[in-house]
Amino acid sequence: MSLVVALFTLITVTAGAFFFLAGTVGLLRFPDTLTRLHALTKADNLGLGLVVLGLLPWADGLFSALKLVCIWLLVQFAGATAAQLIAQLVRRGRSHA
């Protein structure tokens, strides 16, 4: 494929990997369950979004590209809701403690 597309993919996928790194650093260094939850769901989701963006030009066919976008949307939605659920669990645990 053309050089521009290859460069675009290289940059976005590397940026996605960087956000995964940032998420893991947050997981390891943040002091609190809630802050760690934030690092996990926000940073990793953004990393996945960038990876999907970088992979889109290389998908073989419209259907595969649609699947990539659907997966990303699904993970965004599910990740955000799961973060809410886990945060409620933390709050309930604190009020019972």
């Binding site: 699904l74 939605f77 599910a78 809701t81 799961a82 809410q84 659920l85 409620q88």
Partner: protein
């Protein structure tokens, strides 16, 4: 896909680490989460081994469904036997020795396989065009070894009846209890309203694509059952009583259609579970459709547990 490389070794070490942690940790809830993590990592391992159908099944069953089943079973065991003594040292040593022996046996089989490795793969691949399918795994499951698959569906039903038999006499035929969402209309209910429609489409797609690509009835059914369980957990769908006629019909549909097709094979094609020339693919897809419904219902009810309310006679 078959050459071992550094990332593969890393993955194997990660799997071993998680397995060791799961065995060593004391808290039951943590161990179940470790097991779920182990299952998800195994799915990645299967992908690296080239077995995509198995990876799909592992991802579908080994994560949420098995985790929820284990937690509910553990809670039930704790509730009914609160003072049970933990297993003694001798028992744990015996279990460890047995597990190590099985692992050593499997490892020796893989590392030092017999002369020309026994394999029916070439024969299966050669007969694939006769079935009209493109996925050899589906062909093996539903054409070459159809009897085994039929019996597996019956075994699933027997397991479900076994779970139901744990109900108190007065509740037989009643409905299982699932924890009611504490905040009706909150995040869980929101998830339960939005995700299942998407999941149903994906589940049906995975079933449909199993004819020619990795997928099939079991994986599709597992996804559908997870979505139904999610709807029940979120309070969006009610848990049906197990004596419900429509539910029971859905449970037996797969095995029943399989059996009917098998018996019809005596007249139409000279043998039990033989498919007539040219109709193989249509019959296989039909059986798979019924199986998807049955597997979805059976797995969801297995996780939901024995009936615990209603129908006190």
């Amino acid at each position: 896909m078959t050459a071992i490389s550094a990332p593969d070794i890393g993955l194997v070490l990660l799997v071993l680490g998680v397995a060791a942690w799961t065995t060593a940790v004391r808290d039951a809830f943590a161990a179940v989460i470790g097991f779920v993590a182990y299952g998800l990592l195994l799915a990645l391992l299967w992908v690296r081994l080239g077995a995509i159908d198995v990876a799909l099944t592992e991802a579908a069953i080994g994560s949420g469904l098995t985790g929820m089943l284990l937690l509910r079973a553990g809670a039930r065991a704790k509730a009914t036997q609160p003072t049970a003594a933990p297993p003694g040292k001798l028992l744990r040593l015996a279990a460890a020795v047995l597990c190590a022996t099985v692992a050593a046996g499997l490892a020796s089989l893989v590392l030092y396989p017999p002369g020309p490795a026994p394999s029916l793969a070439p024969a299966a691949a050669a007969s694939l065009p006769a079935t009209g399918l493109g996925n050899p795994v589906t062909a093996v499951l539903l054409a070459f070894r159809a009897f085994d698959t039929f019996l597996e569906k019956v075994v699933l039903l027997l397991a479900l009846i076994g779970v139901w038999s744990l109900a108190a006499d007065g509740h037989w035929g009643g409905a299982p209890t699932l924890p009611w969402p504490a905040d009706r209309g909150g995040a869980l209910t929101f998830l339960a309203k939005i995700l299942p429609p998407v999941g149903i489409v994906v589940g049906l797609y995975v079933f449909w694509t199993g004819a020619d690509h990795p997928g099939g009835a079991f994986q599709g059914g597992a996804i559908l059952s997870a979505m139904w369980l999610l709807a029940m957990l979120g309070g969006v769908a009610s848990v049906p009583p197990v004596e419900d006629a429509a539910l029971r019909l859905a449970l037996v549909a797969g095995a029943a259609l399989f059996l009917a097709t098998g018996l019809a094979g005596f007249w139409v094609a000279d043998a039990f579970l033989a498919y007539p020339e040219g109709y193989a693919k249509a019959l296989i897809i039909g059986i798979e459709a019924a199986m998807t419904v049955s597997v979805a219902a059976t797995l969801a009810l297995l996780v939901a547990g024995p009936p615990a309310r209603g129908v006190r006679r």
